[in-house]
């Protein structure tokens, strides 16, 4: 078996767990083989062009430790919310859905590595018609090494939930998460993630979501932390389903982050709204890659993508790459991208009312960022995100 150089260290640390069911051991072995044969994505790979993997390749991480905390609030009947480790034992038929063919095929190397290595994660599963309110929360705090988390969210038809994930930690570590999402017919999921990792960390997050007819999936991401981070969200629409993807990334120092979203319209009548806001200070770098694929037969697709970034320093930079592949004819698709600095006239207006320049800048950046979270329905959640943004701004 050919093993790519950068993948070799991970092969060495791979140790099958004899206590696991045969199907899982089998899947892990296949995923591992796929990863070591494929290695890291190359920068020639369009989707990884802007993500610098050098820090990972230069210094491989030993398997590490983190603390996963689940805050269920009050769970209604028909709701399962537990760690992946526990779900594997108590509800293996649900847990199995967290691993898919693509993990075994190796097309997404870090997802395959994750399948081979993960020790834990969270699982949220709702039976038909169940409404989860208030939101459930997951907090992961990382300690060291590489931490692979495998998460699963399964909403049966007509169920509703809001879930908030938060990632934090201290030290030099690598968090690699893969989250499989399935939203049943007429069900609705609001999925919020706050990436607040420590300044030396690496964070990769991959979400793969499949929607059934008339499902609604809203994904809100706030990227603040980590030295190097990447968030992938890949969504497959159902007939008439609704997708709202919004993200804000605030970076400074020499932070580097990529948001890569791929939305696939294979079914007709579905709606996609994407809004990404970047704030880049000092020498930081951001990238937004947005693919919207409208397949033949996906008539009446309505898709809109917007990406905006503020560059607060001469040395900060951003790359934006919208990609619309449209094979149906009766569709509405639009995209727009803009990069700039704060508006001078607006800044002057605030200052002319006595507001100091730093506070005026903060107010305008905050307003710019929070537009991404305007469609978060719960006011407390919106307030929570706004507060996180404020903390970032005031730390300058």
């Amino acid at each position: 078996m050919a093993v790519k150089t950068e993948a070799a260290p991970y092969l060495d640390v791979f140790r099958p767990n004899a206590g696991e069911p045969a199907w899982l051991r089998d899947a892990r072995a296949k995923a591992r083989d796929a990863f070591v044969a494929r290695g890291f994505p190359s920068r020639r790979d369009e989707a990884w062009r802007f993500t610098n993997l050098r820090p990972l390749a230069d210094k491989p991480f030993e398997p590490g430790h983190g603390k996963l905390e689940l805050k269920p609030g009050s769970l209604p009947k028909g709701a399962w919310f537990a760690s992946m480790a526990r779900t594997l034992i108590e509800k293996p038929e649900i847990a199995r859905r967290a691993i898919g063919e693509s993990d075994l095929a190796g097309g997404q190397p870090f997802a395959s590595l994750n399948a081979a290595m993960f020790a834990d994660g969270f699982v949220l599963a709702l039976d038909e018609g169940v409404t989860l309110d208030p939101p459930v929360e997951i907090v992961h705090s990382a300690g060291d090494g590489s931490i692979n988390l495998r998460n699963l969210i399964v909403l049966a038809p007509s169920s509703r939930a809001t879930i908030v994930e938060r990632y934090c930690g201290e030290g030099a570590y690598w968090t690699n998460t893969v989250t499989t999402v399935s939203v049943g017919a007429g069900a609705s999921l609001t999925h919020v993630k706050v990436q607040d990792e420590g300044p030396e960390a690496i964070h990769f997050g991959m979400v793969r979501a499949a929607l059934e007819p008339a499902a609604t999936y809203r994904n809100f991401g706030l990227t603040l932390g980590a030295n190097l981070s990447r968030q992938d969200v890949q969504v497959a629409h159902g007939i008439g389903s609704i997708v709202d993807l919004a993200g804000a990334y605030l970076q400074r120092g020499d932070q580097d982050t990529t948001n890569a979203v791929v939305v696939d319209h294979a079914a007709p009548g579905a709606t996609t709204r994407e809004l990404f806001k970047g704030v880049l200070d000092k020498r930081s770098h951001g990238a937004f890659l947005g693919t919207i694929r409208v397949r033949e037969g996906a008539q009446k697709t309505d898709a809109k993508q917007t990406s905006r970034a503020l560059l607060l320093s001469d040395r900060a930079s951003v790359d934006t790459k919208p990609e619309l592949e449209i094979l149906a004819d009766d569709v509405k698709c639009a995209h727009g991208a803009a990069v700039g600095d704060l508006d001078k006239d607006t800044l002057f207006y605030l200052r002319a009312r006595g507001i100091g320049i730093d506070e005026a800048r903060r107010m305008l950046i905050e307003a710019f960022v929070l537009e991404a979270f305007e469609t978060v329905e719960q006011p407390e959640l919106r307030g929570h995100l706004a507060a996180r943004v404020r903390v970032w701004l005031e730390a300058a």
Partner: protein, 247 residues
């Protein structure tokens, strides 16, 4: 209170717009500055409030004994200078009330006065709103967002009423107002008239001056004050046009 002496200003690296403006404004006075389009009225107002993008090549501006041109825009505002913008900007995502409270408290803090809490602030807002006949719900929006032209102008005067400046500079606050709105805005301005305050109104028309009687009227033309007089000068201008006064 304000002493402008031989002020020359050009656009950054470009042509000269103000070519020697001199003007003295004392506490308690109301001045009107009139003049054709492009004569430099907004440039003068902007320079007084601290807008950047201009080179001051000659002259000085003293405000309450301080070198005004050396102060930041926020320091000028905190020292009591208020500019009602000819074109107020829209600021989506910055709530009107929040903005006003931050502005008000920034000024109070700088003057060593206690900041207003939410309750006190709200009470002041209610009073001034009634005065300017502004809808409550406008305040819950982003600053000037979705406001009509008239509502924006009224909002400027509302902000002025809240901030209680010592020197108010109103840049064409009357343009685009219907007669009822003009009356309301004029009322707001008249309420601010006080022995310890001064007002400089920039306008094209006699009609604002019918409601707010100025003590002095100046005609600005091509960057210079070419005539000054009392309010009869405004009436004369109305009759003869700028050409009639030799502009």
């Amino acid at each position: 209170m304000l002493e402008i002496k031989n002020l020359h200003a050009s656009v950054d690296g470009g042509r000269e717009i103000l070519k020697g403006v001199s003007l003295t404004v004392r506490a308690g006075e109301v001045h009107a500055i009139m003049g054709p389009n492009g004569s430099g009225k907004s440039t003068l107002a902007g320079i007084l409030a601290g807008r950047d993008g201009y080179d001051i090549t000659r002259g000085s501006v003293i405000y309450d004994g301080r070198d005004l041109l050396a102060m930041s825009p926020e320091d000028r505002a905190r020292a009591g200078i208020f500019l009602a913008f000819q074109y107020p900007v829209e600021i989506p995502g910055v709530n009107n009330m929040y903005f006003l409270r931050v502005a008000l408290n920034a000024g109070r803090k700088a003057r060593g006065e206690p900041e207003l809490d939410a309750g006190q602030f709200l009470k002041t807002v209610r009073n001034k709103l009634k005065l300017l006949e502004i809808d409550d719900d406008l305040l819950q929006r982003g600053v000037n967002v979705g406001f009509s032209g008239g509502e924006k102008k009224r909002n400027e005067i509302f902000q002025m009423a809240m901030l209680e400046p010592r020197l108010a500079i109103l840049d064409e606050t009357d343009s685009g107002l219907d007669i009822d709105a003009l009356r309301v805005v004029a009322n707001g301005i008249n309420r601010l008239r006080a022995p310890n305050r001064a007002i400089v109104m920039i306008t094209h028309y006699q009609r604002l001056l019918d409601h707010v009687a100025p003590d002095f009227v100046h005609v600005l033309s091509e960057g210079r004050i070419v005539r000054s007089g009392d309010k009869s000068l405004a009436a004369e201008l109305e009759k003869t046009g700028y050409a009639g006064v030799g502009v």
